[in-house]
Amino acid sequence: MVPLSWYVALSSTLFLIGLVGVLIRRNIVIVLLCIEIMLNAVNINFVAFSKYQHVIDGQIFVFFVITVAAAEVAVGLGIIIALFRLRETINIDEINILKL
């Protein structure tokens, strides 16, 4: 049997990779992709715990996470398109109106 701690380790590592990607990449679309990586990492965690504790609620939560991820991607990409119309760039550095 695979010990639970390995699933936890896998999920955390994947989460970290996603986090690093969010912080590093300059292309907005890639940043959103890395957010998806993070969400999937969390999903893995939930499903693993759900199996190891013999309850189904973890998988229900994963169900909802996937739903919300889909909605978020739709809206996020819509924002990116609107932003692209405004700024003609998908470089995240150049969207800095909040700069003091």
């Binding site: 695979v2 912080l23 590093i24 679309v29 990586i37 991820a69």
Partner: protein, 169 residues
């Protein structure tokens, strides 16, 4: 057997995630993400969550990824200059710190080394899909309805955002 499969799926997931972060071309990153999704689905099957595996493939790989590819091709932007941020060294440092912390956490906690005993032996277990169905429409009905509302809002919002200005004649 299970260990081997876990090892394969885990390695593939991590590797493809690294490729997502690494590739310069967005299409390549999307493809690497696709690979990751499929291997995660495989991991779900290993964890006896077949329904979720199916949902994962359908939604993530089939809808979300396609959406991403459409947008990438729509915004056909040539990337110029460097492709990582100036704060990369800080992030690397953060990553190292986080790894150390997680390692400490995981090694100092006792997670289940073995699969625990089945709580009700002898009761015929339902399949994954039936179990989810039984709980989803009774106990979690309210969140289910809210989730549908969320999707509706996302639908409307995406149209509004991406539509652009109306041209009155």
């Amino acid at each position: 057997m299970q260990m081997a499969m876990f090892a394969y799926f885990g390695a593939a997931i991590l590797l493809s995630a690294l490729f997502v972060v690494y590739f310069r071309n967005p299409i390549y990153s999307a493809m690497a993400l696709l690979t990751m999704f499929m291997h995660i689905a495989g991991l779900y099957v290993l964890l006896e969550a077949e329904f979720l595996a199916g949902v994962q493939l359908l939604v993530y790989a089939g809808a979300i990824l396609v959406l991403y590819l459409f947008v990438v091709m729509l915004l056909n932007v040539q990337s110029r200059g460097r492709f990582v941020q100036k704060q990369t060294p800080a992030v690397i440092g953060l990553g190292v710190l986080a790894v150390i912390e997680l390692a400490t956490l995981i090694f100092h906690t006792r997670f289940y080394p073995e699969l625990p005993a089945i709580p009700h032996p002898g009761v015929p277990t339902l399949g994954n899909t039936e179990t989810i169905g039984m709980v989803l429409y009774t106990q979690y009905l309210f969140p289910f309805e809210i989730a549908s509302l969320v999707l509706l809002i996302a639908l409307v919002g995406a149209i509004v955002l991406a539509k652009g200005k109306l041209k009155y004649r």
